[in-house]
């Protein structure tokens, strides 16, 4: 039976970090995972500003995205941690609170849409780990990535629908990273937020109290690169490193996505993955690793 998911790309990956989209397509194809684009989707919507501003709008927009997947009769897979949190939390409300579902369906109904709670939402890390399995992934590896990486899981990765084992998905990501051949370097501040959400309120706090301590610890740990799963965290690391330079903090870690390291380990070249689209030296680093 073919494993098939509706793919929720979100906003940041296709329009700011398309190399992650490219890598994920190659990884899924290699592993026999069929993905179907979600036509006409909107932002999940993003989990910070929109929800605080108007919960009904947040829930209705999210429900519309879930309804599109339901029309396809497919479960939904996200590559982005923020999209994951929004869609999982919205789905939880819509499935468990009939009054909310009815209210939201009254809004969706005006536009010929309805959501019945029939969609499961999974992060791509969960799909790879649970549906594909580590063994199949290990068997697909032809070029082990012998790099020393610091993992940044991203806050929304800890989100569990039932509030249970918050390390469930981070541990999956760790195993996926490990299977590529990368050496995982612990640096002690894995749980600290990268500061992306607080950029919208206080840029200085975000950079100096969130990103900078992480960069210092990562540098001290001896890691060569940061491995992430969230596009928003990736942007914060990549742009944040640049923003900190005029203030005397010289960091230039390559920031690689979990899909990209998997694709590299599956034998795809850095050029095929368009790693130059990053705002950190991922292409240079991947080519150097190739030569070494």
């Amino acid at each position: 039976m073919t494993l098939e998911y509706a793919s929720f790309l979100g906003c940041q990956i296709p329009l700011r970090l398309p190399s992650i989209e490219i890598a994920s397509k190659k990884v899924f194809s290699k592993l026999g995972l069929k993905t179907v684009d979600l036509m006409g989707y909107s932002c999940c919507p993003e989990p910070v500003v929109s929800r605080l501003l108007d919960k009904t709008a947040w829930l209705a927009t999210s429900a519309r995205n879930l309804a599109i997947a339901e029309e396809l009769n497919l479960n939904l897979m996200t590559l982005c941690n923020g999209c994951y949190e929004t869609l999982v939390e919205a789905n939880e409300i819509l499935r468990n609170e009939p009054e909310e579902l009815e209210k939201i369906n009254r809004i969706l109904g005006q536009f010929g849409k309805q959501y019945n709670g029939g969609v499961e939402v999974k992060h791509a890390v969960e799909v790879l780990y649970e549906d594909i399995g580590i063994k199949k992934i290990r068997d697909s590896i032809v070029k082990p990535q012998e790099m020393r990486v610091a993992l940044h899981y991203g806050c929304h990765m800890y989100r569990e629908p039932n509030g249970e084992d918050i390390m469930r998905k981070p541990n999956m990501m760790r195993e996926l990273a490990h299977v590529t051949g990368a050496e995982i370097i612990d640096y002690g501040l894995e749980r600290l937020c990268c500061g992306y959400p607080s950029m919208q309120a206080d840029e200085e706090f975000s950079l100096t109290q969130r990103l900078l301590p992480k960069l210092r610890s990562i540098e001290g740990s001896g890691a060569e690169a940061v491995l992430l799963s969230c596009p928003a965290c990736t942007l914060q690391f990549e742009i944040g490193q640049r923003s900190l330079r005029p203030h005397g903090h010289q960091y230039g870690f390559p920031c690689i996505n979990i899909m990209e390291i998997l694709a590299l380990s599956f034998g795809f070249s850095p050029e095929e993955l368009y790693l130059e689209m990053h705002r950190s030296p991922v292409m240079q680093f991947a080519k150097k690793m190739e030569r070494d």
Binding site: R16, G40, L53
Partner: protein, 223 residues
């Protein structure tokens, strides 16, 4: 003796389209939300119906993006407040002095303190402030701004107008094409029907209103 029920029913019947909400939170107290365009008409109707109608005062609240006008009346021991909201860009208040002469001073005071321009007022000159008081420094007027902090404004603007929070640039679209990807992801902004549907959902909630989004200009009303 006029009852709360009588006033409520009268306003419901005489302003069916323009009465947004009416409630009686306690005995002898009524709040009615009226469309701004129907405010004068509502006051005229009340004056015609109730001989005992007495104007108490006018309150003005600057909500940042909008002004709220609250006209307080007394009718046979009942206090009725007509509330009406209009955008601050409008900045015009049509006088009710021809209906309620006693409103003259308070309208001039509101104009002084909030920098509102009075229309059809018989004596539109300052009441509290001096004639040469700077027009842009009104004591109770707040800057035109909504609930969003500056850093969140572009995100909200992009989200509401395009369905997407990331910038949609031709640069990235060209790079996507060069990499063998579709020029744009299949988001609502690439499909007119899907975008209309998305906008319909946004309009059916309070998101655009709370953000201060201008649908005609497709941008926030403040920067």
């Amino acid at each position: 003796m006029v009852s709360e029920k009588d006033i409520v029913e009268y306003l419901k019947q005489s302003l069916p389209e323009n009465l947004i909400e009416i409630n009686v939170p306690r005995r002898r107290r009524i709040f009615a939300r009226i469309r701004y365009s129907a405010l004068r008409r509502a006051i005229e109707l009340l004056k015609m119906r109730y001989d005992s109608l007495r104007f108490i005062t006018l309150s003005v609240v600057d909500h940042g993006l909008d002004f709220e006008y609250l006209y307080h009346f007394h009718i046979d021991g009942i206090v009725l407040t007509l509330r009406s909201v209009t955008s601050k860009e409008n900045n015009l208040l049509e006088s009710i002095v021809d209906i309620i002469p006693a409103a003259s001073f308070i309208e001039r005071e509101a104009a002084d303190l909030f920098g509102i321009k009075l229309i059809n007022h018989p004596e539109p000159k300052p009441l509290i402030l001096t004639e040469d008081w700077p027009a842009d420094q009104r004591p109770l007027r707040r800057p035109l701004k909504g609930e969003l902090p500056p850093q969140a404004r572009s995100v909200a603007e992009a989200f509401i107008s395009t369905s997407c929070v990331a910038p949609i640039s031709t640069f990235i679209q060209r790079r996507r094409e060069a990499a063998g990807l579709p020029r744009s992801p299949p988001m609502a902004f690439t499909d007119e029907k899907a975008l209309q549907e998305f906008h319909g959902i946004v309009k059916a909630t309070n998101l655009a209103e709370k953000s201060g989004f201008d649908w005609e200009k497709k941008q926030l009303r403040y920067k």
